[in-house]
Symmetry: C2
Subunit: 151 residues, 2 copies
DNA sequence: GGAATTAACATAGTGTGCTATATAACGCAT
DNA sequence: ATGCGTTATATAGCACACTATGTTAATTCC
């Protein structure tokens, strides 16, 4: 392989938004899982806390759209959460196909600790960013999500 | 639950850098996997293309540090890549514990298509961001990675 | 030089994501 | 009212991330 070819087969990964976003997300998830583990929780549970933390109930379908994951992923996560006593599933009286999901008291009482873990980790991650930079970062993420979510 | 409690148990996930980063990363990975699948590749292979695309060889240990994943994750990914004929493993003559890993010709010939997939997807994701905003986004990500990577 | 520690890699088990496909209830249209 | 397409959920199988632990080679320390 010549030098020219070698240069051709070279990419600076730090210039790839996708690579860097994945990297940051892995670090976020790794650290968040470590902080949630003592609570008996993990990162996959977070969308349910966001969506059902007010004590309400939603169908699996609605949760799937809210979390923006595929349906079988949601079904598996809910099965584990039910196994661990974190959610309650009951048949929707208006639709025989649908299940209504709500957080159990056990899960609801963990909510303040979950929020603290989220806030502490975000603070650790964003410590080197100023107020304006944080807002710009979140705004960019929102644009990226919007651009990739259309289908 | 009173209204006050309800408000207490509420978080705006779009204001959480960790949540939004995870969301964007899932969308990136989902779309990248769809584009890499016809090539017989997937997102987990990308660090090896970045690190070994010049035709060189590195130990599993060095690859693990480069990719910033845990050692068993790297071992499993390399096993799949070896199974699929994408990498070659040979014993390090200088260290009986170590294996030297390199991309096979089959993998190297896919390199241009990999780079195109990366570039196209980044362009799709960042389409709504201006030049300055893209640079700021990448700079913020680098700071976040640095803040979370220290251990 | 031999014992103990360290380092590199492998294996086991689990969680969370994906695709593909099956099952059962709903709803519309004839 | 029935038959058929659509919708909600479940299941199977895989990739890739993690932790915990085992194995073997190298290194360090008397």
């Amino acid at each position: 392989m010549t030098d020219k070819d070698s240069k051709l087969y070279n990419i600076d990964r730090t210039a790839s938004a996708g690579y860097m976003t994945n990297w940051a997300a892995r670090l976020f998830a790794r650290e968040m899982d470590r902080r949630l583990k003592p609570l008996g929780l993990s990162t996959g549970h977070l969308p349910m806390f966001f969506a059902l933390g007010n004590g309400g109930a939603l169908s699996q379908k609605a949760l799937t759209e809210f979390a923006a994951i595929e349906q079988p992923t949601m079904a598996a996560t809910l099965s584990r959460m039910e196994r661990d006593g974190l959610i309650h599933r009951e048949p929707d009286p208006d639709d025989g196909r649908s299940m209504l999901i709500s957080l159990t008291p056990l899960a609801l009482e963990k909510f303040p600790a979950v929020r603290e873990a989220i806030d502490m980790l975000n603070e650790k991650a964003l410590g080197a960013l100023g107020e304006d930079e944080r807002n710009a970062f979140l705004a960019s993420l929102a644009k990226i999500v919007a651009a990739l979510a259309d289908e």
